[in-house]
Amino acid sequence: MNIETFVQAFAEQFDEVPAVSFTPKTLFKENDEWSSMTALSVIAMVDENYGVRLTGDDVRKSSTVEDIYNIVLSKTNA
């Protein structure tokens, strides 16, 4: 897995925020579209694409897309 495709897949969970505006450093909770529903979508996307079970707490303690990516990475290698 690489961070570019991850950021792209992450961005796809948003319908309003343009995908091009997402980078690894994006503070993803600081836009109007972030909600419990987008959180569930990110968890489902990670499960579907990477076979990794992210928890609600993983999302809660993350701020940037890269934070989530690193958790997925650590769980992939576990």
């Binding site: 419990s36 569930l40 979508s41 609600g56």
Partner: protein, 248 residues
Amino acid sequence: MINPFSLANKNILVTGASSGIGKQIAISTAAMGASVHITARDTNRLDNTLKQLGDGHHRHYLADLTIGEELDALTDSLPNLDGLVLSAGIVKTLPFKFVNHTELDTIMQTNFFSPIVLLNKLLRKKKLNKNCSVVFISSIGGNFIGAKGNSMYSASKGAINAMQKVIALELAPQKIRVNNVSPGMVRTAMLENTTAFSQEQIENDEKNYPLGYGEVTDVANAVIYLLADASKWVTGTSLLIDGGFTIQ
């Protein structure tokens, strides 16, 4: 006075009895005097439940109810029943957009097909006594409310309630009653394993319940009522127990 909630001299089968709500139903019905027959997929946890049932003619049956042959073997080895509690169930949280046929199939298999097919087989083999009470463990989800991420689980529980009404009508001539308990959120390992929500989100959700989240005993006590002769005029109903959640 005779205790109308007594389950003495009743043979009762409880599915999904190795943990959570099903486990408590087994323990509570045994305490009310029933001979309890329990089934689940996990030997060690099933053994553990059996040990907690205390004295009485209790038995356990290891079975995966999603496998046809195991269902047949289970129905053959059971005695005639006076009560049946269909409690085995699973949950998977997915936004609807991520739902697919495989995931939906898994949920429907355990939550809907298995309990319905088990009931069907027990009837065909004439294993349900006259005055038998059948209790499905359903949910407020799919019947009284919807919750985001819960579409598959809701579908399985809505299907139970829909089918139950017809089964209740068809079995009324034999005085077999068919009801369900529809609980709101109950504190179980299933809730703890529902990792899609953070602890913080769960704590906030509980604030929406006027009486807070339920305990497994709250569900077990409702089941005792529906199994006992106290409810002999009750069939085809959903007993809503939700700490006041849906009145708001």
